[in-house]
């Protein structure tokens, strides 16, 4: 892949709710690695439609987020949005519910969706109020980070 192709890695989630924020914890760890100049790592927080600006112009978006399943807590599931069915697609949203898949649909309608999107989903154990990930994810942290790194390298 050419050096000119931008790979944008966006971690999303709510870090007040333990594993809900795993995407943020992952990207904050990954940003300390050495990456080529065409890789940009972004803390997307609960940015909602603001995420469209992060992905605009990118060749490949890697989205890192919490996943309800399938699998055991700490499992990493790497998939493309087109490989899954969004059961909440028809749900009327509030700004609190501008979910990543929905944001991608808006981005696509606006011509801002990157040609390639990979989702790195980390299966959660707990969504209780806490500022750190659960012990279940903490115990598998190196594996989780390595899986995320592999997904980013595959996008290069």
């Amino acid at each position: 892949m050419s050096d000119q192709h931008q790979v944008v890695v966006v971690g999303v989630g709510n870090e007040l709710l333990q594993d809900e924020g795993v995407g943020l914890h992952v990207v904050r760890a990954l940003v300390r690695d050495e990456w080529p100049a065409n890789v940009r790592i972004v803390d997307g927080g609960t940015g909602g439609y603001d995420l469209v600006e992060h992905m605009a112009g990118a060749h490949h978006l890697v989205l890192v987020d919490a996943l309800a399943g399938p699998g055991a807590p700490g499992d990493v599931v790497v998939f493309r949005p087109e490989d899954v069915v969004d059961r909440n697609a028809d749900m009327e949203e509030s700004l609190h519910e501008a979910r990543p898949l929905e944001v991608l649909r808006v981005a696509e309608a606006l011509g801002a969706r990157p040609p390639h999107v990979t989702v790195v989903g980390i299966v959660v154990a707990s969504l209780e109020p806490a500022l750190t990930v659960s012990p279940a994810l903490s115990a598998r942290w190196d594996t989780i980070l390595d899986a995320a790194r592999a997904a980013i390298r595959a996008a290069l």
């Binding site: 439609y49 603001d50 469209v52 600006e53 509030s94 700004l95 609190h96 649909r105 808006v106 309608a109």
Partner: protein, 432 residues
Amino acid sequence: MSEINVNINVHYLTRVEGHGNLVINVEKGTVERCEWQVVEAPRFFEAMVVGREFHELSYITSRICGICSIGHTLASLKATEAALGIEITPQTRLLRRILVQGENVQSHVLHTYFLAAPDFLGVKSVVPLASSHPDVVKRALRMKKLANDLCDIFGGRTVHPNSTTVGGFTKFPTEEEVVAIRQRYIDARDDVVETMKLFKSLQIPAFERETEFIALTSDEEYAIYDGDIASTDTGRHPVEDYLKMTNEWVHPRSTAKYAKANRDSFFVGALARFNLNYDKLTPFAKEVAETLGLKPTCHNPYMNNVAQVIETVHGIDEVVRLTTELLENGIRHEDPVRKIQAGRGVGAVDVPRGILYHDYTYNDAGICEKANCIIPTNQNHANIQLDLEKLVPEIMTRPEKEIELMCEMLVRAYDPCISCSTHLLNVEFIRR
């Protein structure tokens, strides 16, 4: 008329911040029940800050909201500074006035385009709007990004600013950053004109109920950051008298409190500011107001959306004016002004949804002993309720779907931030 039966029970209204229900029951032409129920859980921020040091409060209270976090930050800082006897420098005041305009524009663009406009354009949300009206959504995102970037430059971060602090700032924008963002605001005029054209094309429902309007007012400028409390009924009051201008009370149908002043309810927000401070709008903002058919004193709550558009226009003009002033003065790296003493202080800022008060009491070690926050949306709940009580009888002969939409649009017009105040209207019709 006597055969009309309507039963609406909306559980969690969409496209507002937070959770609220709408229950409307009409039997044989008589309105039996008409309730705006706020069911959001309490947030406990006033308890959280007790025991905290003076420099921590603004970072905690900014988390009350992700949209108006700057407003909460500045009201918090002003309350702390008033309590501790801290006088900020003219530059700090200028930087904060720029920052608060950034938030106002960002919030109004978000509300008018993403939350309110879908109703007028016949879609349920911004998602189909991206397909049916892509230019509209692109413009909204572009304007929002402009405001986000200003908040980033002047507040250190788009949400929950971290360069603001008691007595000043910990980080300052560079001259290059200010020059660049100022030019982008000048260039935003085209988007502003297109926004005006869009809202001119929309059919705003005709409805009126006379009410009291309350907002900050100032002799200096269109008041958002500083001013006295002004009422269309009772004139001007010092900010320290805020309790007399709010009189919060608990209603059984709502987890958020109600408020009243001279009447049983009052209105805060963009329409209140417009009605009270019209003469301080920029000339272009006044032109846009005339084009959009809004003039003071307007008692149609649906026109709050239009007032937000006018404030967006005004805010963009103000950013240009204030950044010009900043560049002419030169940006100085000033240490925050600090002083610690026991005291009580009130900070008031007119945030996007209306006048916001923070009231803090500190001991002589600078530890917070008591806090009270009165949120604008709290102040509007009673007015929303009374508006609905007048609106429903006027429209009850219409089809149910239209009644539902009109009621939802009424609540949305207030741009309620129920998660601040304690979000969703859910309307269910039951016809018998």
